[in-house]
Structure formats: structure tokens, C-alpha cells
């Protein structure tokens, strides 16, 4: 009888011990999972250790300043009206008889040593192994510190998604083996996109055989958007003139203040954004 009881007690204790161990184990597992979830970034970073390094080369001799890239980008990525992930800075130089327009298409440089990446407090901005600088929209807290850190002013505060946003080199298209929308649409074939680690690629050859420049090399961010025949004066223009500053400074709140005829526009954008967000989440689910 007593032995029986002892046995039972032992069993109970054992079971309890087992439960304890199992419980702790489970908690640890859950914690670990939580932590890995926090650490998990995008598909690209975890999956493709391919040794690729994406970059873009813009041959300004071929750029005609048609803005097709901006339009294509805005369509592809549902960029809200009034914001740009890529835009073309245009400057007219000289006087009558000796005039020329200069263009600089500008986008995120996907810097090697990206200061935005270093300064983001929650690692919402991150570098993939292919060298892209991306923003995790589910993680960004919208402190906008990256916006003021970036020396190229390429980031903007997405008014509907309420995070920052910027050029992604069309990462969703790259995954499907397509080129970024701006590259594909460029009428003068001024934009060359590819892997600069691949010695046979078009971009590698073009960089090797031309004199190339980058914007603001003194900032030491090692940009990966290269230019051929970049005009310094064009790049610098507009910084010194206070009138321009006033004109180009924007008051986002006033601009987006709901005034009559913009309501419908905004509604349409909102719909577009939620669509894009859904797609983004779906993609994330497919390739966790």
C-alpha cells in the first residue's frame, strides 16, 4: 500500500519535474522564436547569399530629361502624389546661343556604408547581402532620423503608410528576375543596372571603361549609384539661393490638409497603398 503510494508520488513528482522541464524548454523556445522573429529581416538577407552587389550606372550623356523614370517608379511603387523615389534635377546653364540643360536623375544610392542604416534605432533600415538598403515597413517607428542623416535627401515620410519610404531598386522585381522599373523604361538607355561583382555584366564593363563619378563622395558613404559625365555645378545648384530654399521647402501638413478637390485623390492613393501593403505582406508570408 505504502509502496504503491510512494510509487504514485514518485510518478507525480517525475511528471511534475517533466512538466517543469518541458515548461521551461517551451518558454525558452518561444523566447528564442520571438527573438529570431525580431531578428528576421527580409527575404533577401536571409536567403540569397549569392555574392551579388547590385549597382546602377547613369550615363548622363544619354539622359534627355524626360522624367519617364519618375513616372514609371511612381506607378510601379504606388508613390503618393507629390513625392518621388527618383526624380530628375534639371538645371539650365549659360545664356542665349550658348545654352544647355543638364540633368541629374537622383535616387537612393544604396550606399555601402549607409549612414541611414547606422543611425536607425530599431534596425528598420537594413542592408541586404546584395547591397540594397531597404526599410522594413512593419518595423519602422517613424522617427525620421534616417531622413536627416541621409546626405542625399532621398527619403520621404510616407503620408499614408506612416513610415519612411525610399527607392528599393525595385526589390520585388529583382526577385522575379526583372530590372527596376526606371531602368526598363529609360528611353535613352541611360540607366544601366546590374551586379558589379560579375565581371561579365554590362555595368561592370561600363564602369571599368569610363570615367565615373558619384555624388558627394566626401560624405564617405560609398554610394553605389554611379554617373558618367556628372556636372558638379548642376549637382551644387540651388543650395546657395535663399529664394529657392523658400520655394522648395515644403510644408507637408499644409499640402496634405484636406481641402476639397484633393479628398478623392487621397482616397484613391489610400486604396493603392493598402493594395501595395497587402502585396508586400503576402510576399513576406510566401518567403518567410
Amino acid at each position: 500500500m505504502i509502496d504503491n503510494l510512494k510509487e504514485k508520488l514518485k510518478e507525480k513528482i517525475n511528471r511534475r519535474g517533466f512538466l517543469k522541464v518541458a515548461g521551461t524548454g517551451l518558454t525558452i523556445l518561444a523566447l528564442q522564436k520571438m527573438l529570431t522573429k525580431l531578428e528576421a529581416k527580409d527575404v533577401l538577407e536571409t536567403k540569397s547569399i549569392t555574392g551579388k552587389r547590385y549597382a546602377m550606372l547613369i550615363d548622363l550623356r544619354k539622359c534627355i530629361g524626360c522624367d519617364a523614370c519618375s513616372v514609371a517608379c511612381n506607378q510601379e511603387n504606388n508613390v503618393p502624389i507629390g513625392f518621388y523615389r527618383t526624380w530628375v534635377k534639371k538645371v539650365e546653364k549659360g545664356e542665349y546661343n550658348n545654352v544647355r540643360d543638364y540633368y541629374i536623375p537622383t535616387l537612393c544610392n544604396h550606399c555601402e556604408d549607409a549612414i541611414c542604416n547606422r543611425n536607425c534605432p530599431v534596425k528598420a533600415t537594413y542592408k541586404t547581402s546584395e547591397g540594397l538598403t531597404l526599410v522594413d515597413y512593419d518595423r519602422c517607428i517613424g522617427c525620421r532620423y534616417c531622413m536627416v542623416s541621409c546626405p542625399y535627401n532621398v527619403r520621404f515620410a510616407h503620408p499614408y503608410r506612416k513610415t519612411v519610404d525610399k527607392c528599393t531598386f525595385c526589390v520585388h522585381r529583382l526577385k522575379e528576375g526583372k530590372l527596376p522599373a526606371c531602368v526598363e523604361t529609360c528611353v535613352g538607355k541611360a540607366r544601366i543596372f546590374g551586379d558589379i561583382n560579375d565581371k561579365k555584366s554590362e555595368i561592370y564593363k561600363a564602369i571599368a571603361t569610363n570615367s565615373i563619378q558619384v555624388l558627394k563622395s566626401e560624405q564617405n558613404t560609398k554610394p553605389h549609384v554611379f554617373y558618367i559625365s556628372l556636372d558638379i555645378e548642376t549637382a551644387e545648384a540651388g543650395k546657395t539661393d535663399f529664394d529657392y530654399m523658400k520655394y522648395y521647402r515644403r510644408d507637408i501638413k499644409k499640402e496634405l490638409g484636406v481641402n476639397g478637390n484633393r479628398i478623392k485623390e487621397q482616397y484613391n492613393i489610400l486604396k493603392g497603398i493598402s493594395e501595395a501593403d497587402r502585396k508586400y505582406k503576402h510576399q513576406k508570408k510566401l518567403n518567410p
Partner: protein
């Protein structure tokens, strides 16, 4: 010669809320340091105003983060700051320092009213280090904003620290004067906060004059260096001196915020006149706010691309 046809529109991401945040953390950190004069370094003279400034320190640091949080675009995600660290980012340093500092301020205040000397000293010493790091980190936040010429200077942390000391001392003078003037008839207040002699205010004024002198010197070095440095920097110097921020900078920050109060505090003719000292302290408080505003917003005013 160049005629700009199109250039990206340019928004200013960080505005008044961030300036207010820097302003309040500055006041809080400085008040803590002043308060520690009495309780850590044993200057008995400042004991009674040390109590007041400890309260200012705690109050300031309770309000300050509200501005920071309200400025986020994703307010519910603010908790991410405590789970996902990026130790390269000054904002993460800030999260850690700020949380520790709030805790420390609370304990420090608690032990002041418990009159527990040993613990008080311990938390005072930790608190001084935290207060200095708190101010320095706000400077680093700006200094590491690489693209912006006005911010990207090693002077920034020390500029912030010293102007914080200026504003903290000025606020203390104002509050002490108000208390002595209007609240002498309340029993409870007199019990907790004993009367403060005018001599203490004069001494605080002298201290303030020294801080202002250092502050002026740093502001001067900053502008001189900006003026003669790279093209970006000289544009920023022109924004400050000739551009849209010149009234705020030259009059708000320098003339009314530093030079006039400085003379009020050092000239023997004025520096025993309590009303004038209070007035000067008010000017300083406004001037330091302008300094924060000009630094935060003026820096972002120049288009980058």
C-alpha cells in the same frame, strides 16, 4: 548663371517638437547637476535650492519624452525602441540613458525627502554621469546626422551641454525668486522649502555668467568655423547670419539670449537687483529655446540635393 528648372522639393522632417525635447532635457540635466552641487559636493549653501532643482530635473524629464513620442509617425511602435537595439545609433544610446536617468532622478528625489545621505550621494554621482551623457547624446544625435552641415561638428555635444547649463541655472533663479516673492505665506511650502537668501541668487548669477561666457565662445567658434569651411558649411553660416534665421539667431539667441543677460549678471550696478536678474533669466530661457530651434530647424533648411 544657373537656372534651376526642377529640383526635388524639400521637406523639413524634424520641427518644433524635437527642439522642445532638446530644450527640456537640457533644463532637466542641468538642474540635476546644480542640485548635486549641494548633495554630492557638499556645498551647504545650495542645499535649499538643490531641492527645488531636483524637482525641476524630475519634472522636466517626465515631460520631455512626451514630445519625442508625439513626434513619431508610428506612436504605438515606440516600444520597439526597448526591444530592438541598434548600438550604432545614438537614438538607442538615448533610449538607454533616458530610461536610466528618469529612474535615477526619481530615486534621487525620493532620498532627498527621506534625507538619506549615503544613498543620496550614490545616486547623485550616478546621476551626474547620466545627466552629462543625456545632454551629450542629444548633441551626438545631431552631430551624427551626417548630411547636415550645421550639425555635423564635434562642437555640438559640448555646445548642447553648456547651453543646457545656462538654461537650467536661469530657470532655477526664476523659480527661486517666484517662490520667495509669492509663496512665503504658506506654512507647508515653508516647511519643505526653507527660505533662500538673496546671496544664493547672486552666486547663481555669477555661475550663470561664467556659463554664458563659455556658451558665447562656443557659438562664436562654431560660426567662424562654419564660415571659413567647406561650401556647405559656409551656406549654413549665411543662413544663420543673413538668411531666414538671422533674426532668431543674432537677436534671439546671441544678443537678447546671451550678451545682454551677461552684462546684467556681471556689472555690479545691476547684479544685485533681483527684478533685473529675473528679467535676464527670462531672456536667457527664451534665447536657449531659440538656440535649440535654430540648430534643429535651421540646419535642415539648406537643400541637400
Amino acid at each position: 548663371m544657373d537656372n534651376i528648372i526642377y529640383m526635388s522639393t524639400h521637406e523639413i522632417p524634424l520641427l518644433t517638437k524635437i527642439a522642445n525635447y532638446f530644450y527640456l532635457t537640457g533644463i532637466s540635466a542641468a538642474s540635476f547637476i546644480i542640485s548635486s552641487l549641494a548633495y554630492v559636493f557638499g556645498m551647504e549653501k545650495y542645499k535649499d535650492c538643490g531641492k527645488i532643482s531636483a524637482i525641476i530635473a524630475f519634472g522636466g524629464i517626465c515631460i520631455a519624452p512626451i514630445f519625442l513620442i508625439m513626434d513619431l509617425m508610428q506612436i504605438p511602435r515606440m516600444f520597439y525602441l526597448f526591444f530592438m537595439f541598434n548600438f550604432e545609433s545614438p537614438l538607442t544610446w538615448g533610449t538607454i540613458i533616458l530610461s536610466l536617468y528618469i529612474l535615477n532622478c526619481f530615486l534621487y528625489l525620493y532620498y532627498i525627502f527621506k534625507e538619506n545621505k549615503k544613498n543620496l550621494k550614490l545616486f547623485g554621482i550616478i546621476g551626474i554621469m547620466l545627466a552629462i551623457s543625456l545632454e551629450a547624446y542629444t548633441g551626438f544625435v545631431l552631430a551624427l546626422g551626417k548630411g547636415i552641415a550645421l550639425w555635423n561638428t564635434p562642437l555640438m555635444p559640448i555646445y548642447f551641454l553648456i547651453s543646457a547649463m545656462v538654461s537650467g541655472t536661469a530657470l532655477l533663479i526664476i523659480i527661486v525668486v517666484i517662490k520667495e516673492k509669492f509663496f512665503t505665506n504658506f506654512e507647508i511650502i515653508n516647511k519643505i522649502f526653507p527660505q533662500i537668501q538673496n546671496e544664493v541668487i547672486y552666486d547663481l548669477g555669477k555661475m550663470l555668467a561664467v556659463f554664458i561666457a563659455i556658451d558665447l565662445f562656443i557659438a562664436f567658434s562654431d560660426v567662424i568655423l562654419l564660415f571659413y569651411s567647406t561650401p556647405e558649411n559656409s551656406i549654413v553660416a549665411r543662413v544663420l547670419l543673413k538668411g531666414p534665421f538671422n533674426i532668431m539667431f543674432l537677436f534671439g539667441e546671441i544678443l537678447f539670449g546671451m550678451v545682454i543677460p551677461f552684462f546684467i549678471f556681471i556689472l555690479p550696478k545691476f547684479n544685485k537687483n533681483i527684478a533685473l536678474l529675473t528679467f535676464a533669466s527670462f531672456l536667457i530661457l527664451i534665447g536657449v529655446w531659440f538656440m535649440r530651434y535654430v540648430t534643429v530647424v535651421g540646419g535642415q533648411y539648406v537643400p541637400l540635393m
